[in-house]
Amino acid sequence: MSGWRGALRQRWQRWMERRIPAAQQLTLGHRSIFIFPSVIGWLFAALLLVMLLTAINYQNSLIYGLVFWLFSMGITAMHFSFGNLSGLTLTAGHALPVFAGETIELPVRLTSDKAKAHQSLLLRYPDGPEVVADVNADADDTVATLSIVTQRRGHLDAGRFLLESRYPLGLFRVWSWIRLRYPVVVYPQPVWIPFRFAQGSEGEWLEGATSDSSGEQDFHGLRSYQAGDSMRQIAWKQYARGRGLVSKDFDSDDGASCWFDWEALAPLPIEERLSHLTAWVLKAHQNGWQYGLRLPGHTLPQHHSELHLEACLQTLALFGQEPI
């Protein structure tokens, strides 16, 4: 039963993939818009039928007229509903990377071609919250920020979100399942375990820091603040006591430096190793150490900077996947 269902879902997804391929940008048109009368639409039809019977039985021309007017209004509303989505362009906005398991915010830029408005749009990932948006004619783009809970590390595949509208009369539901490609990476979920010492000179990954190091580098004392000092180096306690900005002075040359090595975590499975390495990288960065990363096929030299952190996390995230 469930197998049969799964097969059906797969077929449906494959068909969707062919019909509305994933893209960074998509303009809605005939191929990508679905339309069907809503429950209210069917009820409206039933109401018109009752009215028509009234008109026939009472031979009342004005009721005939009203029925036909409302009916043709329904037909027109179908075109209006369709037009409310068609011509709308959706572009993947800039998403910021998160760690797997966290919620990622995905901005969708909604652009109307020409001077055309798109009203009362609902956007929703299958398990995410609903977002309402309007695109006004002759106005700037609208950005609707959707969110999903990330599952896996690596290139983000957000899946398809539902774009739906019942405007103007609610008689028709017009919708599309859209898969936008976000050029964003989900970092592995950090799982903290204490630092380990690798045995042997080859795999020794922690140098110049004591094992019970609380993450402080050799501390030389305080000096007055200089432009360019990291925020982390500012002695905030001193600042709070009213001594002005002073910086902790580290000796970064022979400060703590370390290597994080893939092999040190053998024989754990790949994903766990990546999670631990991620946690270590974060911790080392927080501690202000110089750290390098050795993965099979990748080596990032020792360094300490925000960019370096990002490079490390990205390398960990994309381990075993093709680069961007």
């Binding site: 039985n57 043709s72 027109t76 309007d134 006004n136």
Partner: protein
């Protein structure tokens, strides 16, 4: 979605739409219903303003119980059309009290739609149609406003207007082509409002009441385009041949009717035959209106033995029927059946002795001579024609003939028949309408309630039934000019309706306006209200020469399909891609082709994109290289964006696109 609450901006529209749907029901809604509507709408408005809260469950239950009880007691348990409408309206206005979510808004609006439709059962005049237009607009606006999220710039009222205007063509096609069929079943629900009009019994004062009403009775168009002279416009509806000493009624001898094709109709070559068409307002009765010597033409109409037309069922809706008459045909000249003879000469055993004596003394054996004698008597003696005759006692005919000598048409007709019967001549009162107002411009005759009239028919051997009108002897201007001119200066025409435009025919511009408006109304009746199966077939034959319903259905389907096509083309035209210039178009089309090879990067320069393309499709690398150079030159070096350089670039871009199409893409979209 449906449980979302209603946007704030939609509430006023919803309330206004509901209120507007009640307008057409104004004539029959009990006063408490207006109170209820005002209360619920007012309460909902206070909720909208945030001053009050929604009523509680208990209060709502009480309100529902009270409303049901009120409807029940107002209509006395009789389930008439008014009672049904009142139930519907009560439900609709009570629903306002708990209108919170979108679902409630749908319920309210759908009920309001049906309320409006039901209103057309009471009011169908041009004004009703004009009231309906803004009502439908309000309802549509309310529905759209309920779907607004509040950030949109489009105004619901404007969108509704566009929606309704665009819908008009389809509506008109459906209206004219949708097959009109007869009632599917007999409608049990009828209005219990008393209709103004003739009744089946005539006491002396009855028709005088009708003369106070300027309501429309029926309209006539003549095939010849010209009306008969006024003196011949006697529209017969009822023959009253039973007298109980007080009022005249139909005896029931003539209730049976013969329907076409068995029924008599004037021979095709008969000279003097009049063909005409009548659009008649509902009377809730079976009788129709026709001139003397009528023949049944329309299959729904039957001919009775006393020369009248009957409809198969009581006329609850406006109807239209064809009639042929041969006014100078002789009727029953070969003799009367025993039953009819006895019924037509029967008088009560006692009463009105002076009139009986008067008749017996003067009757010489010739019916026509005696009838003329009566007419002469009325003409020469001081008799008066008046709407307000003095009250009469027990022997009312005696009192009228010999004492008061003032009466309206019913008095004269009743007294005349009485005297004819006293002389042994078969006679009866005929009730109907006399005259009407001819609109020369549009060519139709309007007969109103104040044209109601009663006259006399008597029977003479070899000649059959003949008619005389004693009123014409007393007040010839009633026949020649109409009621208004027949009334003396002290009596006011239409005294009960001081503002009726029919009172001001002396003011020429007012009269002009009234005639114009009446003409509008006539067209409305003719082309809208009485547009039925027959008219539809006429119209179709006239326009497109179609013969059968099958053709009509084909035409309907064809028109709808054509309209759909037009709609689709319009949509496509609306959404067609538009480019700033021809170069942008070629480049965009090339980008589409590149997408198939997996190249899409919204943020990259054309050059970078083409570079990627060259890697993805090695087979075209040479061509791509050439295009890249050309493009760089065109975009950043050439000084004229138009002309030869542009044409060259466009040609190359298109050529590359065609080449790409020949190369099979080895790009597969990533699988999820």
């Amino acid at each position: 979605m449906i449980t979302h609450s209603i946007p704030r901006a939609a509430t006023p529209w919803l309330l206004a739409a509901t209120a507007a749907s009640l307008v057409l029901h104004a004539s029959h809604l009990p006063i408490w219903m207006w109170g209820l509507a005002a209360l619920t709408a007012g309460w909902r408005w206070m909720v909208h303003l945030g001053r009050w809260s929604y009523p509680g469950k208990v209060l709502k239950m009480i309100a529902v119980a009270l409303a049901v009880a009120a409807v029940g007691s107002t209509f006395g348990g009789r389930f008439s059309l008014e009672a049904a409408s009142a139930f519907l309206i009560a439900a609709c206005v009570l629903k306002l009290l708990e209108m919170r979510t979108l679902r409630d808004a749908y319920v309210v609006i759908f009920m309001a739609f049906y309320t409006l439709a039901a209103g057309f059962l009471y009011e169908q005049e041009l004004t009703a149609g004009l009231v309906a237009l803004p009502t439908v607009w309000l309802m549509t606006t309310a529905l759209i406003a309920a779907h607004h999220t509040g950030h949109g710039s489009q105004r619901a009222s404007g969108v509704a207007l566009r929606l309704l205007a665009v819908s008009l063509p389809v509506m008109l096609v459906l209206y004219f082509l949708f097959p009109r069929i007869g009632p599917l079943w007999n409608v049990g629900l009828q209005s219990n409002q008393a209709r103004t009009g003739l009744s089946a019994s005539m006491a002396p004062g009855d028709i005088a009441n009708l003369s106070q009403s300027d309501e429309l009775a029926f309209r006539v168009t003549f095939e010849s385009g010209e009306p008969l002279p006024r003196q011949q416009l006697y529209w017969r509806a009822l023959t009253l041949d039973a007298y109980d000493g007080r009022s005249w009624q139909p005896s029931g001898l003539f209730d049976a009717a013969v329907y076409p094709p068995q029924a008599w109709r004037p021979p095709a070559q008969a000279s003097g035959a009049v063909r005409y068409e009548i659009i008649q307002e509902p009377t809730d009765q079976k009788w129709l209106f026709a001139l003397r010597g009528v023949g049944a033409v329309d299959p729904r109409t039957g001919l009775t033995a006393d020369d009248r037309l009957l409809h198969r069922t009581p006329v609850h809706q406006r109807i239209r029927y064809q009639v042929e008459s041969l006014p100078d045909v002789s009727i029953a000249e070969q003799g009367l059946s025993r039953a009819v003879w006895r019924q037509s000469t029967r008088l009560p055993a006692r009463g009105n002795d002076r009139a009986r004596q008067w008749a017996e003394q003067r009757f010489t054996g010739d019916a026509s001579a005696f009838a003329n004698l009566i007419m002469q008597h009325f003409r020469q003696q001081p008799y008066y024609y008046t709407l307000q005759p003095p009250a009469l006692g027990a022997d009312d005919i005696d009192a009228f003939l010999f004492e008061t000598r003032q009466g309206f048409c019913a008095h004269y007709a009743g007294a005349t028949v009485f005297m004819l019967r006293a002389a042994g001549i078969p006679a009866r009162v005929v009730a109907g309408y006399q005259g009407g107002e001819w609109n020369a411009e549009a060519g139709y005759l309007t007969v109103r309630q104040f044209d109601a009239h009663a006259w006399v028919e008597y029977w003479q051997p070899e000649k059959g039934w003949l008619s005389i009108d004693p009123t014409a002897a007393v007040a010839p201007e009633r026949i020649e000019l109409g009621l208004r001119d027949a009334l003396s200066t002290e009596e006011e025409f239409l005294a009960d309706s001081p503002l009726s435009p029919h009172r001001f025919t002396g003011v020429s511009w007012l009269n002009q306006m009234r005639m114009q408006f009446d003409q509008l109304n006539y067209y409305w009746h003719r082309f809208v209200l009485s547009y039925d199966k027959g008219r539809q077939q006429q119209l179709m034959q006239y326009w497109i020469g179609m013969q059968s319903y099958k053709d009509l259905l084909y035409l309907l389907a064809g028109s709808i399909a054509a309209l759909f096509l037009v709609g689709a083309v319009w949509l496509w035209w609306q959404n067609r891609p538009r480019y700033r210039n021809r170069f942008v178009r070629s480049w965009t089309q090339l980008q589409q082709a590149m997408k198939r090879h997996g190249i899409e990067s919204p943020g990259q320069t054309p050059d970078e994109q083409l570079q990627q393309l060259a890697e993805a499709v090695p087979g075209c690398a040479n061509e791509i290289g050439a295009v890249r150079q050309l493009l760089q030159h065109y975009l950043y070096v050439a000084d004229a964006p138009e002309g030869q350089a542009q044409q060259q670039v466009i040609t190359r871009l298109n050529r590359l696109r065609r080449q790409l199409a020949r190369h099979k893409s080895n790009h597969h979209p990533p699988r999820s």
